[in-house]
């Protein structure tokens, strides 16, 4: 049971922890939710994050549900007790592994989420910047294009030109805000070689080349256009004629002479679109820049004009100088959170060697976002690469979530482990307990075995004693001797039964005791018990008496042995502790006791049997249930007899402090008592158990130095179903009358009871004088006068006078005189002093058989022979001529048993195995009985009997069905041969087994005459 408790506790704890875990997880998700809301960069991102978190939460919720379902399943499994240790260990291990993996996955998941978010943020920022840059650039480009239209219209369209250097510079200066990304604008015209001279003249300067400049870029400070070489002879030139002030130094330079510019110019006039150079170091400023070139055409060209046509139509080239570095710088300045992000711009026309246009290559964070830039030149590709300035922060959310989850699950695992350990320990302890229990039970069995052995060993000599007494009874004894022998025999038998009592305690303790339900004579049992104690009581001079109410039926159905056992126990205790006074056993019906008025009771309690005071017996049953609720027992069916028995003594009583444990087994009142009086101390506890089994109650009242009264009730069934009055046991006394002289009412009542049982009518007078007067004057003739010893002793003169007066009466009327004496000494002294006509002495306690015997002897009536037939003689009568089968595998036993039975005149056939016995006993046969050994090899007695019974049942059925004629079966319609078991072990269990397998009875081996007689007489009538 504790195992389950521990389990329950473990599960509860686990449940609690899981709850905690869920709570932690939900808080974390909530936090991340809030975090993402705070993030100002983009609301859509945060919304997405929130959705993701929400999803995560849901996932947890589901997981939680699963876990709780699983835990309940686990609980069921545990309750099914199919717990296997290795299975749980594996489960635990896999649990730990699973959660470690799960936590790693969780960490990855959260980390990836964070990285994605960062990436997204970076991407959006980068894209934003790129778009802005592109927009600005496009604006500038558009304006440059517009300017090219302007130049074509006002410079080439007008003659003379409406624009000169000054106008151009001014105009461009003032419209510089329109081109936020350009640092300067310049216009170069197309000059063919043959026009050069004319052109140079017209402009007043010669066309110069840029090559040297580019070859010597170091001397930028003293860069002077004057120092530049005049352009060598070329096919055509593109000298700058107009330039914004910021780039005035490029006037007169031949654009075709610069490598970048030349390519640019050529591409621009062929495509008709804005064309960009690769980034390069600008003249003078020496900063990185790109030049945007637009071709200016003489006339409007169709969009599908061939490059050749375009070249033909070219008038000049307008170039815008983009100082990317400063421009991007300026642009980024305008944007927020510029400090968080590093921007690089590359020209990636040549994929393998991107040219950096802006930004440094120093970075710490590897995360990079690339946004494409389109500056309108299909020939050139540009892109913007963005990075965070700071390294990504540690993913705390992922770390905390996964670590805390891991910790919690490992804790749960540990709890599981601890629970498992505890379970294992409990299981171990349980096994240990089982082992101990087994050992204890084994010890108990050994104890029972020991008791059985001991009782067996005691029984053997007791059988000798009893056998001898048995034999003594066959000899010619006078009635008194017979009574003595019977008393001795009864005592011996009681001793055997007392041994059985010790066994009973064990049986009661194990609840294996069942009560019999047989017809028995309560009065006879009481007489038996009385005779058992008569010797002792006479020795002590304690008066022993039994009174049974006439309302108690003659025969009851119940367990006489157990009833007798209770009475014996109680009386045994009483006689142990009583030195003077009396012991009175009264048997009433409960109804009778309840009907008695208080006054009557009062009177009864004041006048006791011996005159000694006794405790109020009513108090002994004060606690009984039947009495507390009035009339409840009256509702019993008339067949149930509720008997109340009181054993009253004037002993030393039970000390007050011992009252509570009086019914506890093996408890005696003080150690000294056990030393002085002996005994096992289980008598009362057995009695209590037995009384409970009889649906009764037991109680007592005791006053130290005054006495004790034990009272118990027991419920029996009425055995006198038919009204046939019990046949007179002593017909010779029929019609006689007796006079009892007794001054004590209670004692007289007992005497009357006993005398009446013999069929003698009784009258009571308190004194001898009154007795004399009632004898001499009354009409009635008394056959006998019974005088109590103390009445007789009061005055010897009165007594002798009484005797003399009796003698004077005529012979017919002269009653026989009897003294009711109590102690052994008295009977001797008094008989010595009395002459032949003096009174005969009857020793108390009175019992009907003894009383009858004494009266018979004195009055010369009744049978002279022994009242009971001698068992051996009757055995001979019973067994003579009977055909008996003896089955025993042991030849010696067989021989002895055969000899014993032959001695009683039986015709004995022996068989040495169960199989043989079966073949002998197959109907029809002529056997009258079978004695069967139980323990035989191959087929034991039980099995053989079972087979025999089967055989008999078969034939009986066949006879009934008419398959076999009765004549063929020896005129017996119902075959049932009595089978008696023979065994050396006299154990109850064996007996039960015997009856179960169809045996009729049971004799001990070697044969004991009386037992044999008892068993055999059940089947044979002589």
């Amino acid at each position: 049971m504790s195992l389950l408790h521990v389990l329950g506790f473990g599960l509860k704890l686990g449940h609690l922890l899981l709850l905690l875990c869920c709570w932690v997880v939900s808080v974390i998700s909530m936090n991340s939710f809030i975090d993402s809301e705070i993030e100002p960069s983009n609301s859509s991102i945060s919304a997405a994050a929130a959705a993701a978190n929400l999803l995560g939460g849901k996932m947890w919720l589901k997981l939680w549900e699963k876990i709780s379902v699983n835990s309940s399943k686990i609980h069921q499994v545990l309750e099914a007790k199919s717990v296997q240790k290795s299975f749980w260990k594996k489960l635990l291990r896999s649990w730990a592994v699973f959660w470690i993996v799960a936590c790693a996955l969780m960490f990855r998941f959260f980390n990836n989420q964070a990285i994605d978010k960062r990436k997204e943020t970076l991407g959006s920022m980068c894209d934003e910047r790129a778009r802005m840059l592109q927009d600005q650039f496009n604006v500038s480009m558009n304006h440059v294009q517009a300017m090219s239209i302007l130049i074509s219209t006002f410079h080439h369209g007008k003659n003379p030109s409406a624009i000169d250097q000054r106008t151009f510079a001014k105009y461009t200066e003032r419209t510089a805000f329109e081109r936020p990304l350009t640092s300067g604008v310049a216009y170069a015209v197309r000059v063919l070689h043959w026009e050069r001279e004319k052109f140079e003249k017209q402009q007043g300067w010669s066309i110069r080349t840029m090559n040297t400049v580019q070859q010597n870029p170091i001397q930028k400070d003293d860069h002077m256009p004057e120092k530049l070489e005049p352009s060598p002879v070329q096919e055509e030139y593109a000298p700058v004629i107009l330039a914004q002030d910021t780039v005035a130094h490029v006037v007169s330079l031949d654009m075709l002479s610069g490598k970048e510019d030349r390519g640019n110019v050529l591409r621009a006039r062929e495509s008709g679109k804005g064309v960009l150079t690769a980034p390069f170091r600008l003249l003078k400023t020496n900063r990185l820049g790109v030049i945007l070139t637009f071709a200016v055409y003489k006339r409007d060209l169709p969009p599908d004009a061939t490059p050749r046509e375009r070249v033909e139509a070219t008038d000049g080239y307008l170039g815008g100088i983009f100082d990317i570095e400063s421009l991007v710088e300026k642009l980024l300045q305008q944007l927020a959170s510029k400090q968080t992000i590093l921007v690089n711009v590359y020209d990636t026309t040549n994929r393998s060697h991107p040219i950096s246009m802006y930004g440094s290559n120093v970075y710490v964070d590897k995360l990079e976002h690339v946004s494409a830039l389109n500056f309108g030149d299909p020939f050139r590709d540009h892109e913007m690469r963005c990075r965070f300035k700071q390294k990504a922060p540690l993913p705390w959310l992922a770390i905390t979530t996964s670590v805390s989850t891991l910790v919690i699950t490992l804790l749960i695992g540990y709890i599981g482990y601890a629970t498992m350990n505890r379970m294992a320990k409990v299981q171990e302890e349980y096994d240990e307990m089982i082992e101990l229990k087994k050992r204890a039970e084994a010890a108990d069995v050994a104890k029972s075995q020991f008791l059985a052995t001991v009782s067996h060993e005691i029984r053997t000599p007791m059988n000798g004693v009893l056998g001898m007494l048995d034999m003594l009874l066959y000899t010619d004894l006078d009635v008194t001797q017979q009574d003595h022998v019977r008393t001795a025999q009864a005592s011996g038998k009681a001793l055997v039964s007392l041994i059985n009592e010790v066994l009973d305690q064990a049986k009661i303790e194990s609840g294996k005791l069942d009560l019999e339900a047989v017809r028995f004579d309560l009065r006879a049992i009481m007489d038996d018990v009385l005779s058992l104690f008569s010797g002792k009581s006479q020795e002590k001079g304690v008066e022993l008496a039994v009174y049974i109410s006439h309302r108690v039926p003659d025969t009851l159905i119940g367990d006489p042995g157990r009833f007798r056992q209770i009475i014996t126990n109680l009386m045994g205790n009483s006689i142990k502790f009583t030195e003077k006074g009396h012991i009175l056993v009264t048997v009433h019906l409960v109804e009778e006791v309840m009907e008695t008025t208080d006054i009557e009771k009062e009177a009864l309690s004041r006048k006791t049997l011996s005159g000694f005071p006794v405790p109020d017996r009513r108090r002994s049953w004060a606690g009984f249930r039947n009495f507390s609720q009035d009339g409840s027992n009256c509702s019993f069916s008339p067949d149930l007899i509720n008997v109340i028995v009181s054993v009253e003594d004037t002993g030393e009583g039970i000390p007050q402090e011992a009252h509570s444990r009086i019914f506890t087994p093996f408890v005696q009142v003080g150690q000294s008592i056990s030393r002085k009086q002996g005994g096992t101390g289980i008598g009362l506890s057995i009695s209590k158990c037995l009384v409970t089994l009889m649906n009764g109650e037991i109680g007592f009242v005791s006053i130290p130095k005054v006495g004790s009264t034990f009272t118990f009730t027991a419920i029996f069934t009425n055995g006198c179903s038919k009204l046939s009055q019990s046949k007179m046991a002593y017909p010779e006394f029929q019609g006689m009358r007796a006079l009892v002289v007794d001054s004590r009412q209670v004692r007289a009542k007992v005497s009357i009871y006993h005398v009446q049982r013999l069929g003698i009518q009784v009258e009571v007078v308190p004194t001898l004088d009154q007795a004399l007067s009632s004898i001499s004057t009354g009409d009635t003739v008394f056959s006998m006068v019974l005088v109590e010893q103390d009445v007789w002793d009061v005055d010897s003169t009165v007594a002798s006078l009484f005797v003399n007066n009796l003698r004077k009466l005529d012979h017919q009327r002269c009653p026989k005189l009897f003294l009711l004496a109590n102690s052994v000494n008295y009977s001797k002294t008094s008989t010595m002093s009395l002459d032949l006509h003096g009174p005969s002495t009857i020793m108390k306690p009175l019992r009907s058989s003894m009383l009858a015997a004494s009266l018979q002897r004195a009055m010369g009536v009744g049978n002279k022979g022994n009242p009971r037939e001698l068992p051996s003689l009757s055995l001979r009568g019973l067994l003579a001529g009977r055909k008996i089968l003896i089955v025993d595998d042991n030849y010696v036993n067989l021989k002895v048993a055969t000899g014993a039975l032959k001695r009683y005149g039986a015709d004995v056939v022996s068989a040495e195995s169960g199989e043989k016995a079966i073949s002998f006993l197959e109907p029809p046969h002529t056997f009258d009985a079978c004695f069967m050994d139980i323990q035989m090899p191959e087929m034991d007695g039980f099995e053989a009997t079972r087979r025999i019974r089967e055989m008999e049942d078969n034939i009986n059925v066949r006879i009934q069905n008419g398959d076999v004629s009765i004549e063929a079966c020896g005129n017996i319609s119902n075959w049932h041969v009595p089978v008696l078991a023979m065994t050396a072990d006299v154990i109850q269990a064996t007996q039960e087994e015997c009856l179960r397998c169809g045996m009729d009875g049971y004799v001990s081996k070697p044969f004991e005459a009386e037992q044999l007689y008892q068993e055999v007489s059940r089947f044979f009538t002589s």
Binding site: G464, G467, N893, K895, A897, G899, K902, R903, A984, K1005
Partner: protein
Amino acid sequence: MDVLSQLRHQLADYTNSLHRDGFLDDQFSQLQQLQDESSPDFAMEVVSLFFEDCQKLVTNMARALELQAVDFKQVDSSVHQLKGSSSSVGAARIKNLCVAFKTCCDSQNRDGCMRCLQEVNRECVLLKNKLQTLFRLEQQIISAGGSIPM
């Protein structure tokens, strides 16, 4: 007459000594009582049967105990049989030995069993001699023309 009474005296003494030393118990007396005119040698028959039985059982048990794997069940049943027959005959010592023997068997104590077996064997021989003497005395009484007092 004098010889007869002397013999009788001797027989009584001898019987008493057997009882006193615990060789025999009451059952033997009962066995003797079963003897009558129809079966004058009943006791002797039974006793000789008993010794035959004894010899057989002892041999059986000795054989069983010599084996490597002792079949204690078999030994036990032999002991049981011996106990039954000895109690029937009234051979008290052998019966008591059988009780001890049985305990040894139950606890599967081989050495104990061997010891018990030897004891039983010795007791058997002893009792056989004693009873032979007893029966010889009885025979002498009968041959002297007397009857055996019961």
